[in-house]
């Protein structure tokens, strides 16, 4: 099926036809051809739209712009302005009666304006529990096309598209497929979907599976056909109950439609998918640990090589890709590598889904073309930082990634730029930090996560992260020395270089990037015994401002150490000898009279 950039739906219900809508259609076709847009814009006639009063009418998709009471002489202007220059003609648009200003279009809203959806193309549009709705939006057309192609051609198409692994490492997907295809096997091959998303603050894969499970399934079937696998696995964590439920329903529906099972669409190709539930161990997102878990063994990584493409599940060649990677495949096959490779940058093609969280106004899930800057994501899409606080850093790639400071806000988002900055693309978590965040504390937080999730198989990760965490705790408690800082940095490099799997190899990244960009904060903790963001409570000195204190007595009542004295109408006072720096007085004071020095 040919696809167009825009569709002009000309109403050809009886009422509109009597309002000369066929003339409108002819005029549209004439003008579109005149501007050379006939391959980009399709003119379609539809049945009655039901709003005959303002006919003849034309609805333009995908924007959903509703033109009404069109005359033939309007058409050249509409085609030139809207289709050629991309400026919808406001005066011909429908605005509901009795309203002063028409409500904005989705594309006028900053959050949606710069987003481009491929992996999330069906989000919010279809009922994920109904396969027919997926099919109605060109679902499984990619599969139908793929089954008529030779496996080699499909792999070439994916290679040409430039698609790279969306799990974060960015390996060329087509190349991985080719390696798995070429690998010798004495009993089958497997395709695997890694849906064991575990980064704190990341929910891209969860949302894709919840909103559009068939896109992942279709991608897997295409991949399996290209690679020569007859069995697929989706490894998904059991903590995603809704995603799991929708996936189970989707698989069942696909089987009922003959899209899974024997002889798919009469092609002679057999394939089915099993769901494997993960118990939520972070290390199981690492592919060798994940495959051990699929086999029912303890989720621990093993050294690579041999790589899974040769030696995967049950020692058979296995192609593992992330949810988002699989979800991109159907569109690439359906619309071609050339279309896909036009989007993005030289080395990073297509779009990337990010979950935007932390100190940001528009928390949510965004899909943007590669190469967009961090500033555009945070300010134009994310709506900036709440309460007019200053932006401090953005943490990309979760506990495996790093913190990128304000001076690099204009960094384009692609695999290479983020790596150069010491962070990584990662699976797509983006945590925004404001001026109230202590960077040492953030490093401590992420390290405590990875330390906790370390499986313990290799020494650098098991012992190294523990020692690093110990040093970070010392620093945040004001007990750190300059020597500790050196040890921390040295340890970080060693854990990074010598750990067995990706978990240990990337765990030091939050420490290394904060040391690189925010060393002054570490030094303030060590040399001046001060936390610039007032987060590390052990370093804070609490004091009551006598001018602001209303002597309400609340802090005195709440203080667990009875360190606060003061009577009625008398400004209160904190006894620094007794104070344990718990910060309760600061939290309860309604008059901002408790200050931190």
């Amino acid at each position: 099926m040919k696809t167009y950039r825009s569709y002009c739906m000309v109403c050809a219900g009886t009422a509109c036809v009597s309002n000369r809508s066929f003339h409108i259609k002819e005029a549209l076709e004439r003008e579109i051809e005149k501007q050379g847009l006939q391959d980009e814009i399709a003119v379609v006639t539809t049945g009655c739209n039901g709003f005959c009063a303002v006919g003849p009418l034309v609805v333009v998709h995908p924007e959903g712009i509703f033109y009404q009471q069109l005359r033939e002489e309007d058409i050249p202007y509409v085609v030139e302005e809207h289709f050629l220059k991309g400026r919808p003609v406001k005066r011909l648009m429908y605005s509901p009666p009795g309203e002063q200003t028409p409500i904005p279009k989705m594309n006028d809203i900053g959050f949606f304006k710069q987003q481009r959806l491929i992996a999330l193309r069906n989000r919010g549009l279809i009922d994920p529990e109904r396969i027919d709705e997926y099919i109605a939006r060109d679902g499984y057309f990619g599969l139908a096309k793929a089954l008529k192609m030779k496996p080699r051609e499909i792999i070439q198409e994916i290679k040409d598209s430039g698609l790279r692994g969306r799990g974060g490492a960015g390996f060329l997907t087509g190349l991985k497929w080719e390696l798995t295809r070429k690998a010798k096997s004495n009993g089958g091959k497997f395709v695997l979907c890694n849906a064991d998303e575990g980064d704190p603050g990341a929910f891209m894969d969860r949302s894709i599976v919840e909103a559009d499970p068939h896109s992942v399934i279709e991608g897997l079937i295409i991949g399996a056909y290209a690679i020569g696998a007859n069995q697929g696995y989706i490894y998904i964590r059991n903590e995603y109950p809704l995603a799991l439920k929708r996936l189970i329903i989707a698989l069942e529906q696909a089987r009922n439609y003959g899209l899974l099972g024997k002889d798919i669409l009469g092609s002679g190709f057999d394939f089915d998918i099993k769901i494997v539930r993960g118990a939520g161990a972070f290390v199981c997102g690492e592919e060798t640990a994940l495959m051990a878990s699929v086999e029912g063994r303890l989720g621990e990584p093993r050294p690579r090589p041999p790589f899974p493409t040769e030696h995967g599940i049950w020692s058979k060649p296995t192609n593992n890709n992330n949810v988002e990677t699989w979800a991109n495949v159907p569109s690439i096959i359906r619309r071609g590598a050339q279309w896909y490779s036009q989007i993005g940058t030289e080395t990073s093609k297509g779009t990337k889904v990010f979950s935007l969280v932390g100190k940001i106004n528009n928390t949510g899930l965004v899909e943007v073309p590669m190469g967009i800057t961090l500033r555009e994501i945070i300010y134009d899409i994310g709506g900036g930082i709440p309460h007019e606080k200053a932006f401090k850093a953005v943490q990309t790639g979760g506990p495996s990634g790093g913190c990128i400071p304000a001076e690099l806000l204009d960094l384009p988002v692609d695999y290479e730029s983020l790596s150069e900055a010491g962070s990584m693309m990662g699976s797509g978590g983006m945590v925004v930090l404001d001026e109230d965040t202590c960077m040492v504390d953030i490093a401590r937080y992420f390290l405590s996560f990875t330390q906790d999730e370390s499986c313990g198989k290799c020494t650098p990760c098991r012992e190294g992260t523990k020692m690093m965490l110990h040093l970070l705790k010392k620093i945040t408690e004001g007990k750190g020395t300059e020597e500790d800082l050196e040890t921390l940095e040295q340890l970080a490099h060693e854990v990074k270089e010598t750990s067995l799997c990706g978990l240990g190899k990337t765990a030091p990244n939050p420490v290394l990037t904060t040391l690189r960009y925010f060393r002054d904060e570490y030094e303030a903790h060590i040399k001046e015994k001060r936390c610039p963001a007032h987060v590390c409570r052990q370093l804070n000195t609490y004091r009551i401002d006598p001018d602001a204190c209303t002597a309400c007595g609340l802090c005195r009542k709440e203080c667990p150490e009875d360190a606060i004295s003061g009577g009625k109408k008398q400004p209160h006072l904190i006894d620094q000898q007794k104070c344990v720096k718990c910060g309760i007085c600061f939290d309860v004071c309604k008059f901002e009279a408790v200050c931190i020095d």
Partner: protein, 107 residues
Amino acid sequence: MLREGAGKAKITVHMGTCGIAAGARDIMVAFLDEIEKKDAKDVIITTSGCAGLCSREPMATVELAGQAPVKYVDLTPEKARTIFTDHVLKGKIVMEYALALGSERTF
């Protein structure tokens, strides 16, 4: 796009995890209750996944036949009832609760 039935209007309640956590089920219940009470047989009600803007959940999209869809944000069951009466039944968009008109751009 209304693809099924002889529906005059379609209401989509966004029920990803974020929506459900923010109370989308109550919104769904309110719409279903209104449909029953007003005996509105030609209104299709359906669910969909996260619409992306998780901080403004619960969200719902109302689409009258032949018109651009309207996205509503920060819903409560009361707001849902108002939207049902004014927009779904009478065709008047509830500007106060509406975020935007139309759909997102896909490649």
